[in-house]
């Protein structure tokens, strides 16, 4: 693409990343969450692919698959955290501690350190989704490329 698109893509990249992080991190307070934020960040990958070409990201395929497995394992591990009572039990919520600040009922401005395992799961799913969707775009873009048979 032309210099205009490349420059704008460059400029937009921190915005997209910060906004995707915001969407993931505030998933339990505002609309959004792991999937949506992951999709936003994955579209950053798509942006880089379209603006700078897929060849530059060729070496990152392994990284993406690693991150995806990591996210999936983290998600299952967080689900296993509650197996003392049951699988998927939200053991951290409401009990004090880092993510366990209790929330009163009714409209409120929201605090980041609530929600028990939910923010952590958001992160795990976000990691997984961004790596997964990013690598889908990357794989489709790289298929049939120059060296590829």
């Amino acid at each position: 693409m032309s210099v205009v698109v490349r420059t704008i893509a460059r400029l937009l990249l921190p915005w997209v990343l910060a906004f995707g992080g915001y969407v993931i991190m505030h998933g339990h307070l505002t609309p959004g969450g792991g999937f949506q934020g992951g999709a936003v960040v994955a579209s950053a990958v798509a942006l880089v692919v379209i603006a700078f070409g897929a060849e530059g990201l060729k070496g990152q395929k392994n990284l993406f698959s690693f991150l995806e497995d990591l996210g999936a394992i983290a998600f299952v591990a967080l689900a296993f955290l509650g197996i003392g009572s049951t699988f998927f039990r939200n053991v951290l919520a409401g009990g004090g501690g880092l993510f366990g600040t209790p929330v009163p009922f009714g409209p409120n401005p929201g605090w980041l350190n609530t929600g028990g395992t939910l923010p952590l799961m958001n992160w795990a799913v976000g990691l997984k989704v961004l790596a997964g969707l990013g690598s889908v775009v990357l794989l489709l873009a790289l298929f049939g490329g120059k060296e590829d048979g």
């Binding site: 906004f19 505002t30 609309p31 999709a39 579209s43 798509a46 379209i50 873009a141």
Partner: protein
């Protein structure tokens, strides 16, 4: 304070314009015309979403517009690049 309804009326106008753009999307002779119509629809929908965020009285809804403004750009770029024969 101003009534939220006026924002709703403005949003209604935007949706009507979106509909008008959809006509170009349907009849546009070339794919490029349709892509232009898509771009217009994107912008209009972003404006609609911001206005409706006020009209519904929920600030958290504005986040959707931001995502929208960001991501429709990516779609447009893909279409434009394909039109130009790159990719």
């Amino acid at each position: 304070m101003i009534g939220e309804l006026s924002f709703g009326v403005a949003a209604l106008a935007m949706v009507c314009f979106t509909f008008a753009s959809m006509i170009r999307l349907a009849i546009g002779p070339t794919a490029a015309d349709r892509a232009v119509a898509l771009d217009t629809v994107n912008t209009l929908v972003v404006a609609t979403m911001v206005l409706l965020g006020v009209a519904f009285g929920q600030v958290v809804l504005v986040d959707v517009a931001i995502v929208y403004a960001l991501l429709s750009f990516v779609g447009t770029l893909y279409i434009a690049r394909y039109l130009g024969g790159g990719l």
